[in-house]
Each structure stands twice: as structure tokens, then as C-alpha cells.
Subunit: 158 residues, 3 copies
């Protein structure tokens, strides 16, 4: 790949990740379906656990690695449909390794506001996504995602 | 446009939006004037309204669409000159549609700290900008901006 | 430089700044060492001071300009090794001024959580980095960094 093709691929992967975030935050599940490869895996284990304390704030459905697009979609829909989520992604380090492969580390922060009446008001966390991408039929897709955390803060119910 | 010209246009639009944010947050009104086309429109309706409750937190001057650069500048100056603002923009999805036209969706979060003594301490919100751009005399400008919200939180006065 | 080389340099500088943030937040000091030129300077003066009040929240080691990579590393290690930090960088305005020089303004927010038992729980701030870069042996490095603040908020000890 020449320089121009490489930076274009980087930009396309940034937009792919933007659609991932926007789909989750606006609950656009058909958009979300388009960002993953069929065999994608998502590892959100520890997403609700502050690294300093090791305590899992909520019994979230993130304690197994999600295998395949269908399982990922089902889990995110079940877990987040009634949750107001805001995801912030920034400072990507994207490496295009070939015409059809790439990896990235993304810094991220998110805030979750749970439905009223629950034991917990919300969660707020920060960390990094570690991802790989595959280009299929000219379109970049997320093939593997793993989340690590710097901190997770509990927001008390009001 | 070839690939290199396209990614350069994307980068120029990112810097344009960066100047929009920086101008507002540092109250650099002459810089802000340079980011809009003369006929720009800004639709901030609902910027202070949490989507879950529908309640407008403050009677802000955002309930009409601002028409034209002069009206936009006047409104932002009046509304924000005494407010400490922090705007965060991230995860743009920029589509360059021609040599002189482009659209984008930006994820965003902002925090406003109102002057002491008022009824409200501040606001904190997240959402998306939906924008169009026009390139005039070789320079990209914001032609239309519309803000949608995921959540808006009130910060109590201290 | 042609367009493709210029946007590639911009992307490399973005990744350089991403490594700066990631190194600090994950306490990867050997990674941090690689982001600075030997003669780099870092000016974090006022990083803990809210511009509205002028009060310095904590007696942080940021009241002199750090001169040289060794001094920068020593100061950041001493000041932050026991602090949970989250740095967010966004909206860069990068200007590549030559094949080996560049400048940038970055918008930023950070949150610091101090070790339990201290007088202060943490700090949360936003502002801008004003930076210059130098390309040495084909690799971009931070040569000068200066931080200005829009706001700094104190988080009470729990």
C-alpha cells in the first residue's frame, strides 16, 4: 500500500469504530450489526470492575468472551437497551498490517445511566480497547475487541 | 479527488471543527467568526434538555434555529461569554461528497459552569453534531450544524 | 512534502501523542521515554490551578518548567506513579511546518485519583496542550509541551 492508501485505511477504521460507538449509544442495532465480522469476538471481561479494588460493581453479562456476531449483538442489546450510554473513543494507535488486516489501541471512557429504581445509578469508566480488524469485500470490520480498564466509578442511585 | 486529496480534506475539516470548539472554550470570538459560512445555520434546540425527561434545564437561547453567521455569533457570545465551557469532540464520521462539499457526524460531550450566584451550577451533556461543510476560496467552513443529545445532566449550584 | 506525506506525518504525530497519554495512564515509563527528544521541555505550570480562582489545589511538582527528557521522566514518575490517571486528548490542530518540524494544539481533559488517605481525592481538569515536534531518524518526538487550563475541579477525599 502507498502512503495515501494507508492513511485512507486508517480513516476508514476510525469511522468504523465511530459507527460502533454511535450504534450502541443511539441503540441502532442494525448499524451495530454491520461493524463486526461474522466470527468476531468481544472480550468485555472486567468492564465493571475497578482495577484498584477488584470488586465487580454490577453483575453484568461481561464475564465471558462473546463469540460471534450473533452472540455479541444479543449481549449488547440485552445489556444496554434500557441503559443510557455515552461512549468516548479517542487517541487511536492504528497499525495497518496489510491490505486486509489492521490492529489498534483506543483510549476510551464511558458513562452508563441505569434505569431508575435499580440499586445502582450508573457506572463511569475509562480504559483501552485492543482491537483487530479485517477488510472483507472492501469494507473494514471489527474482528476482535478486548477492553482493559484504568478505573471504574460507581454512580449512586438518586 | 484522489485518495490523498480526500484524506487531506478530512483532516482540514477536523481542524475546522477543532477551531470551532477552541474558539468557544477560549472565548476567541474572532476565531469563531472564521469557522462559519455567511449563511450558516446552527440548530442547538434541545441542547439543555435531557431526552429521558424532556425537561429543559435552563431557559437557554437555543430554542430557535440560528440563521446566519451574525446571529450565531451574537447568540454564542451572549450565552457563553460568562460561562466556563469545555467541549469535547471525538469520533467524527466525515464524508467528502465533492471538492467543495462534505458532511459529518461528531460525537460530543460538553460541560458548562455558570457564574456563581445563579440558580444552577452547570450543565453536562453528551450527544452528536450533524453537520455540513462548504469549501469557499479553498477554505472549509461550517454551513449547517444540528445538535442531538443522548443525555443532559444538571450540576447543582454550590 | 506532498499531500500523502503530510497526512501521514499528521497521523504519526497523533500516534506519538497517543503513546504519551497511554504511557502515563498505564505507567509504562519505558514507552514514555520514547516520546520525547533528549532536550524536550514540559511546562505544566498551573496544571492544578483553576483559572477562575487562581488557587493552586495541590502543591504539585509543576511549578517549574521541566528541562530535558530525564527531568521530565523523573517528575512524571514521582508525581504520578501512585496516582490513577486518565488523560483524554482530542481535536488536534497539527501543522506540519517542514519534513522534520511540526506544531499542534490539542484539547484535553484529565482526571487524577490520588491514593486513599490523602487530603484530596482527586483532580479533574480541562485545557489545551501547545506543542512542538521534531522528527529525528525518521521518528517524531515531542520537543516542547505547554499546558493551559480552562478549568480545574477538586474531587473531595472519600
Amino acid at each position: 500500500m502507498d502512503d495515501a492508501a494507508k492513511v485512507l485505511a486508517v480513516e476508514e477504521i476510525k469511522k468504523l469504530k465511530a459507527r460502533y460507538f454511535r450504534a450502541i449509544d443511539t441503540k441502532d442495532w442494525s448499524l451495530l450489526e454491520q461493524v463486526f465480522t461474522d466470527d468476531a469476538t468481544c472480550d468485555y471481561r472486567g468492564a465493571a470492575t475497578d482495577p484498584s479494588t477488584g470488586t465487580n460493581a454490577v453483575p453484568v453479562a461481561t464475564e465471558t468472551v462473546l463469540q460471534g456476531k450473533a452472540a455479541i449483538l444479543a449481549s449488547l442489546k440485552t445489556g444496554l437497551a434500557e441503559v443510557v450510554t455515552v461512549h468516548m473513543g479517542y487517541m487511536p494507535e492504528i497499525e495497518v498490517t496489510s491490505g486486509t488486516g489492521a490492529t489498534a489501541i483506543w483510549a476510551m471512557s464511558d458513562t452508563l445511566r441505569f434505569p431508575a429504581g435499580g440499586a445502582l445509578g450508573g457506572l463511569s469508566g475509562s480504559g483501552h480497547y485492543h482491537e483487530t480488524y479485517e477488510r472483507i469485500d472492501g469494507k473494514w470490520r471489527i474482528k476482535a475487541l478486548r477492553l482493559t480498564r484504568l478505573r471504574v466509578d460507581v454512580v449512586e442511585a438518586r
